[in-house]
């Protein structure tokens, strides 16, 4: 199977673990990713906050490049990019396309949030066949964040208040997705550099609830959520005066671990909050 791929900027830097795990499991599951040639930044929060027109045109440029590839599906791992591309597609096909200095050149491939793609029946089946070491004993909360679900008129999500994609994937790998109320509560990613105090409040609340429901780990599909929850954990622990020590996995890393995909150890060793003690306790990692 061949698909169009839009990695987005952070997967070339801070989310290298996510990027490598995606390339690893896709090669393993025979999903060939064709990267959009010469793609640009979607503009993210900065553009949509203070330059609406640019936010549509930046994403629009990449959409036009994507139409030149022949594939029916396009995978987008970053929920922010996903959201901005879908927003631009809607705006450029909407009632006022003349507001923007860019036109959609051709019909678009189906734009997929990566987790939703891996949670389709077909992909769950394909993955299940490859599981060598089920993640038995791992109790995790699935944390979806905002941008893959909201607003539903952009994302097309039906289960936006209680998404299931990650829960299905985690269960499919033999782990236990734990029910919790903060699946889609914001982590404040856009404020992390300028207002870490806000992020500390929002993320501390997530750790606290994850602990209260008995989860040992948090599973995400968003590299901004991952960065916030993983990189700043020590700082937030200091703010809250508590110890959380809760590893934050990408779902792609868990697929890699369960299917023994080469490189899985390297991906997760890039985390800041050390995931290995937990994996060793559960006998899911033997060096």
């Amino acid at each position: 199977m061949q698909v169009t791929y839009y990695p987005g900027c952070s997967l070339q830097g801070s989310a290298r673990d996510y990027a490598e795990s995606i390339l690893g499991i896709c090669a393993f599951l025979d999903i060939r990713l064709e990267e959009i040639p010469d793609w640009n930044c979607c503009g993210a929060t900065a553009a949509h906050s203070i330059d609406h027109r640019a936010s549509i045109e930046l994403a629009g440029r990449t959409l036009n490049l994507a139409t030149r590839l022949p594939h029916a599906d396009m995978l987008v791992p970053c929920p922010m990019c996903f959201n901005r591309l879908k927003t631009a597609a809607k705006a450029l096909r909407g009632d006022h396309p003349q507001r923007y200095g860019i036109k959609l050149e051709a019909s678009l491939p189906q734009i997929w949030d990566l987790a939703n793609f891996f949670a389709t029946e077909k992909m769950l089946e394909t993955t299940a066949k490859q599981v060598i070491k089920p993640l038995n004993g791992l109790k995790a909360v699935c944390y979806y964040g905002c941008m893959a679900s909201r607003p539903p008129e952009i994302t097309g999500a039906k289960d936006f208040e209680d998404p299931q994609a990650l829960d299905r994937i985690v269960e499919n790998l033999g782990a236990t997705p734990v029910l919790w109320p903060f699946k889609t509560d914001c982590c404040g990613a856009s404020q992390v550099l300028s207002r870490l105090d806000i992020v500390s409040q929002l993320v501390g609340k997530l750790y606290d609830m994850a602990q209260r429901v008995g989860a040992q780990a948090i599973v995400v599909s968003c590299q901004m959520c991952q960065a916030n929850l993983d990189m700043y954990q020590q700082k937030i622990e200091a703010d809250w005066g508590r110890r959380f020590s809760i590893p934050v996995f990408y779902f792609t890393e868990l697929i890699g671990l369960a299917c023994h995909v080469k490189g899985a150890k390297d991906w997760i060793s890039r985390h800041i909050t050390d995931p290995f003690p937990l994996l060793q306790t559960l006998n899911l990692w033997n060096d």
Binding site: G13, E57, L58, P151, R195, Q201, M231
Partner: protein, 197 residues
């Protein structure tokens, strides 16, 4: 005590809806937006109050408020609004209006971050994260604060960890179409962040 005289500017709603549609006029003040908002603790006006102020033509109040800047853009309000008011999108529209009209942001650092980000992608067409934080610290004047409060030690430690784990690349990636990206971003000629303290 003298009562503050309200000076409504009812063109505000018209001006906003011309950029929209945000359907602000459909708000019937159920406060569902505010009840679901995760960052009300950092706001001076609740989201429903911003909408109300827009309807009441309180231009100065809404363009100067903290709320539009500390909004996390999580889209919970827009998603839950029973009247399809595009609340989060309206917050963006108000930020952009404030910037264009030269209203100083009460959260200058948040604005400085947005501007640093856009300048960053203007250079190569893609974000180069490695220089984002240093450039932001310089532009916002936060470097001095972090120095004085000692939190720079934490930043430095995290930076070193990220670097040693291969998550801060030394060589930026550039695209062929960077001129197209610059053209898209060039309309914003002026920057409105206050200069560094």
């Amino acid at each position: 005590m003298s009562q503050k005289i309200l000076d409504p500017d009812y063109r505000l709603l018209e001006q906003i809806e011309a950029e929209g549609p945000f359907q602000a006029g459909a708000c019937f003040q159920c406060r569902k937006c505010t009840n679901g908002c995760p960052v009300t603790f950092a706001m001076d006006l609740y989201p429903d109050e911003v909408i109300r102020m827009v309807l009441l033509g309180q231009r100065e109040t809404v363009l100067n408020c903290q709320t539009i800047w500390v909004c996390a853009a999580c889209e919970t309000c827009t998603t839950r609004c029973p009247n399809e008011v595009k609340i989060a999108e309206l917050m963006d529209c108000l930020k952009e209006m404030a910037v264009q009209e030269g209203v100083p942001s009460p959260q200058p650092r948040i604005l400085a971050l947005h501007e640093t980000f856009l300048n960053n992608i203007k250079k190569r067409g893609r974000l180069y994260e490695t220089t984002l934080l240093p450039a932001y610290l310089l532009k916002s004047g936060e470097l001095l604060d972090r120095w004085n409060s000692g939190t720079w030690r934490y930043d430095l430690k995290l930076g070193r960890q990220m670097f040693s784990k291969g998550r801060l690349p030394l060589i930026p990636k550039s695209i062929k179409g960077k001129r197209e990206v610059r053209k898209i971003l060039a309309r914003r000629k002026t920057e409105h962040s206050p200069p560094c303290k």
